[in-house]
Symmetry: C2
Subunit: 287 residues, 2 copies
């Protein structure tokens, strides 16, 4: 059997499946201390004869094999998790091969294998939720430079009409500070789901997300940008983002047809777990 862990800063999801990625059991629980959380993870997987586990973790994390911090969670604001050797503890307890990458990368991989990116080679998966993050796949492989990307914190042009001070404690005018779920909630004093689809907020939100797509397009030059995360349940955003990206790019580079370029996640909230299972399968097949 195959295993997957989607390790979020708020909640963990674990799943096991057969070799054809049919999920047979799933468990979700809140992210508390490393010891308590990992104990639940280990108890779940010990019930099944798993042969490999694909893990996507909140970050920042060490992703360079061979480096001392590989498999660790790094300088997260969740202090109990700082420098925690997630992968080391898990492998010591479960004694199975594990594939280790970011939570957004496993979602991108799920979309590549079974979702909205099937058949493609270069895709960016963006999640717009509690935070903003991106899983970047180039030539069918995860993109890493010196480490993984932190696309959510790129700087955007704040609209003159938008006097919100931003929700990011680090940066003035970064994407996460202007356009994440908490940014919307702090700006409007209500949750995204409670704001009507015709509220001007969505034009503003689409402007920021179109800027993010503009910069991603010119830097990573993907074939498709896939949006997931809670904020993107607001389907009215998609045509607005496409329209504003077209205006901003202004024919400087030719974009793929926009309804195929800016698309919603194909696997919904399952993208990460399914991606993790496919990564586990890849590990098994590589042996």
């Amino acid at each position: 059997m195959l295993g997957a862990i989607e390790a979020g800063g708020t909640k963990f999801v674990c799943a096991v499946s057969d070799e054809q990625i049919n999920i047979v059991d799933t468990v979700k629980f809140a992210t508390t201390t490393p010891a308590e959380t990992l104990q639940k993870v280990i108890a779940f997987f010990k019930r099944y004869p798993v042969t490999a586990i694909g893990i996507g973790s909140f970050g920042p994390i060490g992703v360079k094999a061979g480096q001392a911090d590989f498999g660790h969670i790094l300088n997260t604001p969740k202090l109990a998790w700082q420098n925690f050797d997630f992968l080391g503890v898990l492998k010591a307890q479960l004694q199975v091969p594990c594939y280790w990458t970011t939570d957004v990368n496993i979602a991108a991989y799920g979309e590549l294998q079974a979702g909205a990116a099937q058949g493609l080679s270069n895709v960016v998966y963006l999640t717009i939720g509690t935070g903003i993050g991106a899983g970047v796949i180039v030539a069918k492989k995860f993109y890493y430079g010196l480490s993984h990307t932190e696309v959510g914190h790129v700087l955007l042009q704040q609209q003159p009409s938008d006097h919100f001070s931003g929700s990011c404690p680090y940066h003035q005018g970064c994407a996460e500070g202007l356009a994440s779920g908490p940014a919307i909630e702090q700006r409007c004093h209500k949750k995204a789901a409670q704001i009507p689809a015709d509220n001007p907020l969505w034009q503003l939100e689409a402007d920021y997300l179109a800027q993010l797509c503009h910069n991603i397009t010119l830097m990573f030059v993907p074939e498709r940008i896939i949006f997931g995360g809670g904020v993107m349940h607001q389907k009215q955003l998609f045509p607005l983002i496409r329209k504003q990206l077209t205006a901003k790019m202004n024919h400087y580079v030719s974009l793929p047809p926009l309804d195929q370029y800016i698309v919603p996640v194909g696997l919904g909230d399952q993208a990460g777990i399914i991606g993790g299972l496919y990564l586990a399968k890849k590990l098994v097949n590589a042996e």
Copy 2:
């Protein structure tokens, strides 16, 4: 012998060297029509027994081997060059293997082999001159998505004190429109070289270039960012960019030591030609 071509929108530089990259002859001429310009290129190389040529061209260009537009110049504003089969014409006339990529990529490669990026794997070479462009090397290879990057046109936050409308005909507030040589000249009504080092313009310029570094850092996560191009002859920019990048990043990710992270080009105006010669050498060695 090895050959290199740095094909700029304004001027062409061609060079030949021995196998140890000792340049034995160089020629420069203005970029006019494709026929006239290529005729000069071909006449130069026919005088030497070159075994391979490394070419870096202004763009956008087709860089995907096997595609119909590979080796072509694409939708450039230089209309005579649109859809010109640069590589095809050259190979037909000279009958030697040619390595084909962008002008900024060959400069990045020169820096990797013999300049400020020796020993590294992930570097971004930025040129700040008539335009802004980036050569991106990841795991010692050129970065391509669906095509090459167009980093110069990412959107930046325009400072409230800066009322300049921008020099880019496509985008409001892109890097090239705010911080290229022509942007400085149009904003200040004098050339960069004529503006004193203590003029507040350089703080503004450094702010924009630090934003560009911020976004490149979070997206490509390079080990080093190397600056070339005419504007960067203003050496006072380097400490200003380092200081402003530190402030903007605000410890969100840990940067390498800044005097090793934000550095001037090591090979000066020779980076492109030397990179082209190394790419020619690579072709010869691969045979």
